[in-house]
Symmetry: C2
DNA sequence: GTCTAGATATCGCTT
DNA sequence: AAGCGATGTCTAGAC
């Protein structure tokens, strides 16, 4: 109960990682990059082995009401007189190791307290992010328009890599900016690439294509105003074709 | 154990909100906006009253390894033959109510299972960051340079509000884009405002100031290349002055 | 290490 | 309802 944060390594000995689950009536204060306060209520407190703390309510998204990110340490202390009068039984102070961020939990009543050994997690395997979309579009470059050919993915320029460089049926260069969701940011990014590339006589004229699964109206307006063509990609359809291709082998 | 998700309202009766904590050896698959897989390992599963599920490891940040956001429902089913052979005891399927997103948890061994009544949370009270920085800069407008005067905060234009509009010592307009961290995005945003405002004969010429607690090198280069002045703000110093002022009252 | 771009972002506010 | 900006963003990859 009065145990503090459990570092994974102490004096060279590797202790098993443990997560501690506490359900308690508590109030919470955070002082760091901002100040925040949570009034007294019953909440779930998750204390991870690296010292990090999550304060969750029963609802909302995956984001805790409040938290402290690692590296940090938890110390438990007795409440002072004022805190005792307010009903606090324990004060948990979570201090960030590098910054001066602080999370203070005033624990009024502990309703549950248990520890569980989880071990190290093998981690998440992802599929279907922008990288995958880029691979698919490179394989299905005709989606940019008839007669298009791939020059290369991640074409390097002085200000960063262009997602895809292609040529249209006339042999002119086409720079493609690819997004999962097409926002104004992406149009600005492509615009910077186009400005730079069109100064290169070996490449110019370079046309721009803004390709995304979904293009926001404002982004489309800005793009078309700048002569950038917009292409909406159907990920499922592209993946479907990719799967069918895979099945041939 | 075999209980499914508990909606907060059933047949007009309001049930108490409950959070369920499960520690289990499990593998997890997500199919929705992307595909993701978590190999078999021991993890913390948090099931909230709104049906949402968080899959946490003992470490990392506040973000779960995987999750399903509300509104969604959890159903528990028996594993099929292949799943039983793989060692699964139960299959939890979490389905999003509006999209077709799906989270499937293959539960191999339950190590802990408890439920806790939390009630409705009063919610977080926040104070700080960009709003505060904007208020401080409006009060300390001299930080833009000698002789500057405030016109107004959140000066509305056709494409959105400019954080601060001021005048310099010559009476010329100054548009200020304020950020906690000064990134290229912020420079682009300010550039769009300046283009628009400089078309307005009542305002033009409008100078630009990019003000932030921290300005990234690339952002500074881009800003200065466009004739936008960069001002680094010391939040603690500004807050200190603000506090001293407050103490006078 | 630092820095940059992407994200199943989430959250809140305004139109 | 939909769009947009901010976030204590977090995270992974590049340099």
């Amino acid at each position: 109960m009065s145990e503090t944060g459990r570092p994974a390594h102490v004096a060279g000995i590797r202790y098993p990682q443990r997560v501690r689950l506490v359900v308690a009536r508590c109030s919470v204060d955070y002082a760091g990059r901002l100040s925040a306060h949570l009034p007294l209520a019953t909440r779930l407190l998750v204390l991870k082995a690296d010292g990090s703390v999550l304060v969750h309510s029963d609802g909302g998204s995956y984001k805790p009401l409040n938290w402290m990110s690692p590296p940090c340490t938890l110390t438990v202390s007795e409440p002072d007189e004022a805190q005792t009068d307010a009903g606090a039984q324990q004060i948990w102070t979570v201090t960030h190791t590098k910054t001066s961020d602080r999370l203070i939990v005033s624990v009024h009543e502990v309703l549950h307290d248990s520890q569980h050994e989880l071990g190290v997690d093998p981690g998440l395997q992802k599929d279907g992010v922008e990288a995958h979309l880029q691979k698919l579009l490179a394989e299905q470059i005709h989606r940019l328009g008839e007669g298009h050919t791939l020059v290369r993915r991640e074409y390097m320029t002085a200000i960063g890599p262009v997602d895809i460089l292609a040529r249209d049926s006339d042999g002119h260069s086409v720079a493609v900016e690819l997004k999962r969701r097409g926002d104004i940011d992406g149009v600005e990014q492509l615009t910077r690439y186009l400005e730079l590339m069109n100064r290169d006589p070996l490449l110019a004229p370079v046309a721009g294509v803004f390709a995304a699964q979904e293009i926001k109206p404002q982004a489309r307006t800005l793009a078309e105003d700048r002569g950038i063509r917009c292409v909406v990609l159907d990920y499922d359809e592209m993946r479907g074709i990719d799967d069918s291709l895979s099945r041939l082998f």
